[in-house]
């Protein structure tokens, strides 16, 4: 009896230790980043784990090496345009596929879902050549355009539209609303939690995207924060102090969105298994 109780207590202690270690390891790099921002590069590469006094120096280095307002504006601009356009165009399509289904459109839908299998590595060369032909190399439009019609987001909206009460739509039709009015005035407000979850996916992808902007954006004044961190950080002897300032600043928006919309965040991440 006592030995059973003891064993159980020991195993629950083991569970807490395991989860505690997992949680600690998960959070640790965030602490490392914040502490690193206050330390000199030579302290960082020695693994110093206490706050230092180099915050101002690091920030000065970062802000003199990088035109930070411009770079953040580039990232923000790309993210905002990508988010608004993706949510609009993909939700229109998801709604259209579900509400106005016809046999031919079903076939197109299946074909469209197949594009989910295309790895980006196979697209980057032809996309680059296409953008060159359009004269869009080194523009933010070129970064945004290929991401706007996302088969995954369209799928996500179509799945969610199945739960959209069609009594609402029928009533609106009786009231004489046009189809686009039904979409913008009724569907959009009713489906705001779907939009929130989709927003998270698109926001995270756009803000953090790397490979495609790396290919398309060539001059320094067009680059995003992700590209800047990468070029500062992949140097042979990076100035880690300045890099830490950059990573902190780049992570703040996503952390903010995460804590502000935690429930939708998880829902967005799970979207694909619904």
């Amino acid at each position: 009896m006592t030995s059973y109780g003891l064993k159980q207590r020991l195993s629950s202690v083991a569970v807490y230790i395991f989860l505690g270690v997992m949680a600690f390891l998960s959070i640790f790099p965030f602490l490392w980043m914040i502490i690193g921002a206050t330390n000199t590069t030579s302290d960082i590469i020695k693994g110093k784990m206490s706050f230092g006094e180099a915050l101002v120096v690091n920030a000065t280095t970062f802000f003199t090496q990088v035109d930070a307002p411009l770079i953040f504006w580039n990232s923000a601009k790309i993210t905002i345009i990508a988010t608004v356009l993706t949510l609009l165009i993909s939700s229109l399509a998801g709604y259209g596929f579900e509400i106005f289904a016809s046999r031919f459109r079903e076939k197109l839908y299946t074909l469209m879902l197949l594009t989910l299998m295309i790895p980006f590595a196979a697209l980057m060369i032809p996309l680059f050549m296409l953008m060159k032909q359009f004269g869009l190399i080194n523009t933010h439009l070129a970064v945004v355009l290929p991401t706007v019609a996302s088969a995954f987001i369209i799928f996500y909206f179509r799945q969610s539209t199945k739960a959209f009460p069609h009594e609402l739509r029928d009533a609106a039709r009786v009231d004489g609303l046009k189809e686009w009015q039904i979409f913008f005035l009724i569907y959009m407000p009713v489906m705001r939690s779907t939009y929130a979850a989709a927003f998270i996916i698109v926001f995270m992808t756009a803000w953090n995207s790397y490979l495609w902007p790396l290919i398309v954006l060539q001059s320094n004044d067009m680059k995003t924060i992700t590209l800047v961190i990468s070029s500062l950080g992949s140097a042979y002897y990076p100035d880690y102090g300045a890099v830490m300032i950059g990573t902190v600043l780049a992570t703040i928006p996503t952390l903010f969105v995460f804590f502000a919309m935690q429930r939708q965040f998880v829902e967005g991440m799970l979207g694909s298994v619904k």
Binding site: M33, A101, T115, A121
Partner: protein, 304 residues
């Protein structure tokens, strides 16, 4: 919800429907379908830059005689064969421990373990690079704890370089996969566990013989998505090893060269050969297609 509801069988030409789906379809055709067909066509061509000429199967021949391609292929396979099982096991164990409703600090622990997902791949790669430098945090900690006598050559030894990248990817994605398992576990009837517990089935056996079989579909799903993700590994290796920078080499002895990184280098670093790069990219297309087929196959089995 059968297929013959009147809403679904509307065969007539419906202008509204096309207006709604039209923009998206046009964009997908332009930026997905056309490029993938174009790259298929390019894979039969060769030449510098945009001056391509037809080459038949020359690229395929070159592929099979290209040691760098095989290095990249091997590395990519090592990454997913080692990393995906470690990460998914860790995620599954963590999720099943967190699924206990009596657990204290459950929400805090779950949030903490999920948190790596909010970082950008580039940002976390830079952080890991700074922790794994020669006399840096990880090595001083390991020496301090008496685990090793001399620092581990993370940046100069092929084995340890890959290990570091595997640790980094595992850090970033374990919490993400855990969330999928937790969501699936919500649907498992807890009374099954209670009954097993009362019957004296030990914890590990409950995990192995109850949790794992019931989560089989979602385990398959995460396996496929993780594998496809690893097949396309780029941001981490490019940032950590500087393989995306001017030097071109990805880690000691190209130990971190992945297929995506190789395609990028072929296209934008070395004398650009779009045709050959397209051929290499179709290797990824092929691998992803096979894996996705396996996923559909597994999903069919689930319904049956």
């Amino acid at each position: 919800m059968s297929a013959i509801s009147p809403r679904r069988l509307k065969p007539r030409f419906d202008v509204n429907g096309w207006l709604f789906v039209g923009p998206a379809l046009a964009l997908i055709a332009t930026f997905m379908v056309f490029p993938i067909l174009h790259s298929f066509w390019m894979s039969f061509q060769t030449g510098l830059g945009v001056r391509l000429s037809f080459a038949g199967l020359k690229n395929t021949y070159r592929l099979f005689n290209d040691p760098l391609f095989f290095t990249a292929l091997t590395n990519t396979f090592i990454f997913f064969l080692v990393q995906v099982p470690i990460m998914l096991t860790l995620a599954l164990v963590t999720a099943s421990l967190l699924n206990n409703p009596d657990l204290k600090f459950r929400g805090v622990l779950r949030t903490a373990i999920f948190l790596p997902c909010v970082t950008s791949l580039v940002a976390y790669s830079v952080l890991f690079k700074s922790m794994f430098v020669a006399n840096g945090l990880i090595n001083t900690t390991l020496i301090g704890l008496g685990i090793v006598d001399v620092g581990i050559p993370w940046m100069t030894d092929p084995f340890w370089c890959r290990t570091m990248i595997i640790i980094a990817i595992t850090w970033r994605w374990t919490g993400y996969n855990m969330i999928f398992y937790l969501a699936a576990m919500q649907n498992i009837d807890r009374s099954v566990y209670e009954a097993a517990r009362i019957d004296g089935v030990p914890t590990w056996a409950r995990f192995l013989h109850l949790t794992v079989p019931m989560l089989k579909p979602v385990i398959l799903f995460t396996t496929v998505t993780s594998t496809i993700g690893t097949l396309q590994l780029f941001d981490e290796v490019a940032t950590i090893t500087g393989g995306g920078s001017a030097s071109g080499a990805a880690g000691p002895g190209n130990s971190a060269l992945t297929l995506s990184l190789y395609i990028y280098n072929l296209t934008f670093k070395f004398a650009p050969n779009y045709g050959y790069a397209a051929t290499v990219s179709y290797v990824i297309v092929f691998l992803v297609a096979v894996l996705s087929f396996l996923q559909f196959y597994a999903a069919r089995e689930r319904k049956a």
